[in-house]
Amino acid sequence: MPKNISIFINNKKYSAEIGQSVLDVAKKNNIYITTLCHHPDIKVQGSCRLCLVEIKGRKGLFTSCNTQAENGMRISTESKNISRAKQTNLELIFSEHCEECGDCIYSQDCTILDFAKKYDVKITKYEDRKKAYPVHKFGPALEFDTSKCIDCGLCVDVCKKEGVDFLEYKKKGKFYEVCPSSKKDKDCIYCGQCLTHCPVGAFEGVGEFEDVDKYIDAKGKTVVFQFAPSIRSSIGEEFGMPVGSVVTGKLIAAIKALGIEHVFDVCVGADMTTMEEATELIERFEDDRPLPMFTSCCPAWVKYVEFYRPDLIPSLTTVKSPQVIMGGLIKTYWAQKMNINPKDIIVVGIMPCVAKKYEIERSQNNVGKFKSVDQILTTRELAHLLRKKKIDLATIKPDSAKSPLLKPSGAGVIYGSSGGVMESALRAAYKKMTNKRMPKLNLKEVRGIHGFKKAEIKIADKTLKVGVVNGIANAKKLLEELEKDPQAYDYVEVMACFGGCIGGGGQPVPVNDEIRKKRSAALYNLDTKKVARSADENPIIKKMYKDFFNDDKNRHSVCHTSYRKKKKEVFPSK
């Protein structure tokens, strides 16, 4: 059998591989076929029935997503029958989707509305079937409005792929509905992958978009913004810039244009996380404390451990996540320097993540009496706010970012990508253990969007076995390895989202591996351009250790947290 075949689409010849679907071949050759339920991350659903084609010599219509390309096949993507079927199926899809366009994550670019225009669809032909359907609230992180759900199945499958399997089909009356699980041993971890894989905006972050300007004009308060590592290479997409554009300076300028005087880069917080985490790793190594040590920057992973695997709590690093440390620093170190009462400071974090909305509610993350961070806006929410205030990120002149709290090391920047935390901590640990800079700074073994990466790193006379996983399903695989061999790893980084934070639940949609790769590459590229490549080389970090963290109480209050076993907190609403 030939490995390469050719098929004809609209009378033009294209080469294809055996096993490819007709839709794959079309997509690869930029031939547009309408589809809603196809996502490259997820196995073919075949549920929306919109990607219809005709095949010469065969009767009827075929869905291109689950029709395999065969040598010599002649495909048409447009015909009277195709249009008729697409129009009818679209009318049916609209009959189960209650529109709320102004408050939708796809308000800028709505696929189904585009299709409706193309196929002359009367979107109100049928009365909405789901108008009385419930909104399920997933903690302080997510909402699922089932009156918008078109039953494509992507969220259920991505939740399964994630390794959580919390969304399921339940039969209510005559219909199956997508529902959060009511089982006692299942809970949502707030990763938000359901949201980024939903084609019609049935999921949204809590407060998205109605709360975006909640604190903007807070009277008598100093409102400050801080932004996460991965935002700089993703938010440009919201303003029509090419995927992977780095917009750090523009982002700062745009936030300042909102009237926010003080802007902070969470990468500096990441540098602090790195320093503390490297220290803890060395201590654990030397004191025979439980290994491997697991990272805790990802709140969805922390939730997973606290609910599903509380036995692993002693293995989680006690170091807080970068945004929590940064917020803590703002309300202590910076507040003292600026002579502002921390109770009058409101910290708004711009995050790639909906689980961060949950993380800031954890009392263990407070700094003294105060919440470290007061509000989270996702990348999408900040973009919405900027658009609302008519600030165009694409055209705004970049800010020169003079403040030292806007100057991270390269290691702080790569936190946004799977493997970044590990690489940063290893650079710092190397320095701490050998008093030298790591000779090979680019740890290619732990980079990239692959779900499961392993490496052995030599530091002084020790060999560190490290694992980097993204997606809880991969974390589970790693945990299985540990069951068999408890010494298999010394240090493990877990991120719930595919590719790490660059693929987070708060990031622009759509997302796929191509987009993840570009967002990630942009961060690594920034790293190589920095003079300070390791957290320990960052002058502001050195200064804070000297002036502020010389008091261990400060260090502990700002940088360390604790964990506890959790009960189920998300239930289906009635």
């Binding site: 073919v44 075949g46 549920s47 929306c48 029935r49 919109l50 219809l52 009827g60 219509l61 869905t63 689950n66 395999q68 029958n81 008729r84 079927a85 129009q87 009818t88 199926n89 049916l92 899809i93 009959s95 189960e96 049928y126 079937r129 078109i150 039953d151 199945g153 089909y169 039969k171 005559k174 219909f175 199956y176």
Partner: protein
Amino acid sequence: MKNKNIIAKLKISNLRGRGGANFPTHAKWQMFADANSKKKYIVANGSEGEPNVLKDGYILKNHPEVLIEGLKIALDTFKGSEAFIFLRRDYFKKYKKKLEKLIGDLPITVFREHGGYLSGEETVLCEEIEKNLPARPRTKPPFPGQAGINGLPTLINNIETFYQIAKIAQGKYKKTRLYSITGKASYKGVFELPVDWAIKKILTKTKNKPEFKYFVQVGGGASGDILLASETTQKVSGSGAIVIYDRDQTDAWVLMRTWIDFFMQENCDKCTPCREGSYRILEMIKDRQFDEKRLDDLFFVLENTSYCALGRSIPLPFRSLIKKILPHTRN
């Protein structure tokens, strides 16, 4: 040798699957024999989920040993295979013990179905045995004969098919099939009669030919075609059901309502046309009024774009009832 022998016999007998799809059994067995795998599965499908189809239950009640004999032939032919008897829940409850006694040491598991009508669809059946619930159909190809349960070749035949296979092997096959006769029949029940008899002849033979004006639904009690008395010169297709209706006493809207309720209850809601299209048909039936253009569009997407055979089969009985009977129904 034995292997070749039975497949050749099946070919000569011209036995076709009795689950409803009418696929030549020898071709299915040949495909399964050709599938290259050490481990294979064999399933006797007793899902029998369509209204008014009773024949698998009849075999389980009256001739379970013939079914087991049929399965034994398959197990002997395909050495090292493992078999299941896949039963709807009430059959499972009633016949499990009896079957297990007959099974003895044979590698046959009596399996309780989880879903309903759709569970009899071959790929859904595989999903159920794999415990992927709620089970939904898979894309074909691959067909279960190539990759079924756990991705391994799986031979799925209807219970009646295995019953007839046993008869073929014993040289006792008389080219008969089991007809379920229900509705306004004088003698309801399951009758074993020649495959090539016309409906009229079957009704006469079983003393079920109505004196009143009647029509029949043939093949299955929901998806079967509607035939007028004048059309009963045809043979019975599908799963062998004949449902007799009184033409004057039957309210076509009520009948359509039972069908659409059945399809909506039993479908898996995976694909747009079947989930939403059937609902919109229900709405019109409730109003006792069709918007013809709308109905035609819905039938069009059901027939042409449904994911599986369930959705594709919905329009047939409606189309024929609307054409033949509805005009005589008072609104």
